[in-house]
């Protein structure tokens, strides 16, 4: 994972690789400048991350247990119809 990806995973946003410094420590490395910002509301979450987290929650909630997966779906369907949710 490159450094910009590590910054994103750490919770930074507005991440930029601004340029090179010209100070290179070896033939295969170069000096570089990076900046980022912590979101105003705390750790930021992209839409993709949010959907991933929702899917994880969904799978846990509907996993087989005392009530099996099919029954849980049927309960959810009944609840949504009772609440007047649009299909």
């Amino acid at each position: 994972m490159d450094f910009l990806a590590l910054m994103k995973e750490a919770g930074f946003e507005g991440i930029e690789s601004v340029g090179e410094t010209g100070f290179n420590s070896s033939p295969v490395t170069r000096g570089a400048l990076f900046r980022g910002k912590k979101s105003e509301g705390g750790k930021s979450m992209s839409v993709e991350d949010g959907l991933l987290k929702y899917r994880e929650f969904f799978e846990i909630a509907y996993a087989d247990g005392a009530i099996n997966r099919k029954m849980k779906h049927l309960i959810a369907l009944g609840a949504s119809l009772g609440a007047g949710c649009e299909p």
Partner: protein
């Protein structure tokens, strides 16, 4: 990708870094492939008006790889964390920028560098800076402690970069900034994993 390192590898890397930077604390001259000291600062565009306020011996100790202050402004009254503060040059520059109402904390793995940084601090009139020796993966500050985190040529030396970046994010206030100058890989590595560990800090 974060390398898979054994505890022994991490100790070897940390020991090597401490040994190298104990020498650098004496003088960085000849130990790096790029300009150090005053020549390095001028080449990187550090503010000459601020450099004028710092003793020559502090300028001579500089061995950074870039100028993190070129990435954004630092305002009066802000709190700044300098990860890998070395001889303290960047911390002292930040201290001038934030003024008496602000505060700067510099952390470094090398006890010799922390000692050197305090010697440099004593040569100034600054009272808003502190330095601490630090090793480990959890920064010793509560959440939301700082407006700004800076670092200059340090993350390339840290094996668990992702962990340290998460810690940097944690200790920043909401809307806090991270400004980093560092070395990144631009070509293929020719050494195998064990050779790279052995020469990690060189």
């Amino acid at each position: 990708m974060e390398p898979v390192l054994t505890p022994e590898d991490k100790i070897k890397i940390e020991t090597g870094i401490r040994e190298k930077y104990a020498k650098v604390a004496g003088s960085p001259e000849g130990l790096f492939k790029y300009p150090t000291g005053k020549a390095g600062l001028e080449a990187l565009g550090y503010d000459p008006e601020i450099l004028k306020t710092l003793p020559e011996s502090i300028l001579d100790s500089f061995c950074g790889v870039g100028n993190p202050f070129s990435l954004g402004t630092i305002d009066r009254g802000e709190t700044v964390l300098d990860i890998g503060s070395g001889g303290g040059l960047d911390s002292l520059v930040a201290a001038r920028m934030v003024g008496a109402g602000g505060k700067v904390v510099g952390l470094d793995l090398s006890p010799e560098m922390v000692t050197r940084a305090y010697e440099h601090l004593k040569q100034t009139d600054l009272t808003n800076v502190a330095f601490q020796e630090f090793s480990g993966e959890d920064l010793p500050f509560p959440d939301g402690s700082f407006d700004l985190v800076i670092s200059n040529g340090v993350f390339n030396l840290i094996p668990a970069k992702g962990r340290m970046l998460k810690e940097a994010c944690r200790v920043l206030k909401p809307d806090g900034r991270l400004l980093i100058a560092d070395q990144v890989l631009s070509g293929a590595l020719t050494k195998g994993p064990q050779e790279r560990i052995d020469s990690w800090f060189r």
